[in-house]
Amino acid sequence: MRRSTVATSRAATIAGYVAGFLLLFAIWHLAAIYLVRSALFPPPWPVFERAWLLIEDRILQEQIVASMRRILQGFLIGSAVGVPIGLAIGSFRPVRMLLEPWTEFFRFIPAVAMITVSVIWFGIGEESKIFLIAYATVFVVIISTAAGVGAVGRDKIRAAQCLGASRLQIFALVALPATVPYILTGMRVAMANAFVTIVAAELVASNDGLGKMLWDARLFMQIEDIFVALISLGLLGFLTDRVFRLLIRAFAGRFNPTM
């Protein structure tokens, strides 16, 4: 319950992560050897071997770069669209009344079901994949941002009103900064959506990427490849999240994000 003392060194954190992952892999190993014993559930070692091979052939790197580019582009676009909409929904009642049916409707429609529509609009190139990822990102950011606006301290807004703030100024200078922690939490949650959706996005006419690798491996029952793709997604997500947190701490520390 005690807040971490700043003194707890970074080293301890990293040691904790390493321990956590080692434990994860140890449990996986034991599960695969003693518990599950399925031809479809390989132990970690062959998977690592396979990953190493793919890395040596520079195949894995290619897929990672292809997928990460799509994920980041979609994620950034989704966030850039979501934050102002969320702020507007949280701040202005007419906007909320008009837009909420839309957001609250579309956010329940899976990206995978939007593939066809996105191809019709954006073709089978990169655009449609990025659209799908942005689509999966935007609603989480909207809902978190709007919730954050609702949580802005009453007196903060009142004080701004008495200082002569226009609605727009309250929006930009009070609601936005006060909502930053919510926005960032929302973006962290949304980032997982972006990663999850890459698999659906690369179901469409894609010639590279981790999702594509996963689908191909499924088709050919290359169990090790499936797990290589899964673990790559998991680790990349983990790392992206860490980098995101570091950036937050470096640039938005004064907004007191609680992460």
Partner: protein, 255 residues
Amino acid sequence: MGFVALEGVGKVFQGRTGSWEAVRDFTISLEEGEFFCLLGTSGCGKTTVLNMLAGFEAPTSGRILLDGKPVTGPGADRGVVFQGHDSLYDWLTALDNIGFGLRLRGLPRSERRATAERFLKMVGLTGQGAKHPSELSGGMKQRIQIARALANDPRILLMDEPFGALDAMTRAVLQAELSRIWAETKKTVLFITHDIEEACALATRVGVMKRGPGGTLKAVVPVDLPFPRERTSDGFMRVFREVHALIHEEIHGGH
């Protein structure tokens, strides 16, 4: 009719646990440039009156006029010092908090800074402008709030126990400053306090409220003494005793 007029104002809160009549039939008229102190026991409805005048909450009965026009919401003409410190912006430094109103008006950075520094000095925090609210003590936060309201130069100042968390000396200094600013700029002030001496030293009139529920204005005592006031003078003592008696009566009437 005065510059500020509350006419039979009442406020009933609808809580989860039933309704509560916080203020009943509150009537007062303030001239422009008046310094009105509002006293009353804890929970009698002082903050509620201030909130309605500020435009934060609508009265459930009666009406509030400002310069003859009904109050419909908050505005830059009425600066507010809040009870509690939630109204400070955690993400801004003390200095930026003070200069926030100027920023809203689009003043250039350097001008903003100069004014903010001036008010920072006034509240005795020179050199501490770079701290964020979470790094300030309770009294320091309150002083930043006061500086922020004053820096914005409103026509009417609504202050809710602004000097409550301050030591006697800092308090005396700020009282003198406020009195000076008021005299120079002829602002209209509504000032809530629990300190009778403070009220008598600053006000042109002192209002005492009846205890709640249904808190209302019980009596208004004019303070016709010259400024700066000598706290040991006979006139001061007389007013002090009058107000003190009113409050004492109020408490013992119901306790």
